[in-house]
Symmetry: C2
Subunit: 197 residues, 2 copies
DNA sequence: AAAGACTCTACCCGAAAGGATAGGATTGCC
DNA sequence: GGCAATCCTATCCTTTCGGGTAGAGTCTTT
């Protein structure tokens, strides 16, 4: 019926999902533990649909997803994920992701989502779609946020990315406003929760 | 063959694992989405084995696990988890957990682990067992760490737990040393990574 | 060309955090 | 009792943060 690839580094999740889809009547369901393995399988023969985990070795943010999409074009590639931020979701859709399969999805909904995406539709929970470009962090702000999450001081961040300390402080301030964080520590925790880094 | 309960708030994980275990020949595999639901099922009839997710509604740290263990005594209760800190693992074993099932475990190993625990053995990856009491955070230090993770200032933390600000600063210092953190933000990220809070 | 972003830098200030050192209080344990 | 660990408080000092305001450069879009 369809050739599907499930890519997830959690063997338990990967294999059980694959087994479930096979039991649902999909002809060929393969699995991969990382992006490189997945790309190798795609190279042999493209899939009708790829489900890829966002927190997977080789993903490197959305770079790995972009490679998968390019390799499997024009067939759809979707993200499996426990929790994804609206920011990441928007970027994923921009680079051509076919949708999202939250792990909170039930088995029956999973099948429905897979069928929808096989038919060329975009499947994504509303909560991930409805959002303005409001409150998005700029590139520099993300750089600084990464430094903060690494426990660096403003001075260290400034040295590492080649800026003056005052400039870093500015980015910390504006970025904290956007995240509605009380301070850098709070911002770091929010970033971690929303997987912004 | 055995009556097993799989408790996980991720419907996809929960149902697929349950389906897989059933396919392996286990007679009765039920599932629950939160601790309260699980306790309700246990109350009707105890299970030969319970697999419970650590990051689950109602778990409240290890309190929920303790309730499940008490309710299902003397049958084993194990934790399903993507990542668990040695600290939490040790505490779980102390209060009587039967072991751990990392999500990185393959399907075949899952079956082996389940059978081992049904036989009364403790199943846990070595990496979670070998650890000294070295570097453990004291109660107060954990209190302060929780405050830091919430983005609070020392002053706020002091007010909330009824201490002087200087005392909080002391705990921040000693706790950061133990975690080998450069500052409070770094400590917060380490705590989040190791699930210390 | 103008508007709007993102960007970088500078100066100022008060508040917060980090670090060192020291003393006393409370436990539980040998 | 002595010992160790944890806990609470204190004083002093330096560094870092957080916040405000201001000016100017780049780039893209309209």
């Amino acid at each position: 019926m369809a050739r599907i690839l499930v890519a997830d580094d959690h063997a338990l999740v990967r294999e059980t999902i694959a087994a479930y889809l096979e039991a649902e009547g999909f002809q060929e369901v393969l699995s991969a533990a990382d992006v490189d393995h997945a790309l190798g399988l795609v190279a042999k023969a493209p899939f009708d649909l790829i489900l890829a985990d966002y927190d997977m070795p080789g993903m490197d943010g959305l770079a790995g997803l972009a490679r998968l999409i390019a390799a499997n074009r024009p067939h759809p590639v979707a993200l499996i994920s426990g929790a994804i931020s609206p920011e990441v979701a928007a970027q994923a859709l921009e680079i051509g992701a076919a949708g999202f399969v939250p792990k909170t999805l039930g088995s029956r909904n999973l099948v429905a989502a897979v069928k929808a995406m096989l038919a060329g539709e975009v499947f994504a929970p509303m909560s991930l779609i409805q959002r303005g470009p409001e409150g998005l962090l700029s590139g520099r702000e993300l750089d600084v946020l990464r430094g903060i999450c690494a426990g660096k001081s403003n001075k260290e961040i400034a040295r590492d990315i080649g800026l003056q300390e005052v400039t870093v402080k500015l980015h910390v301030k504006t970025m904290s406003r956007k995240l509605v964080a009380k301070n850098r520590t709070h911002a770091a925790m929010i970033a971690r929760d929303r997987k912004l880094v």
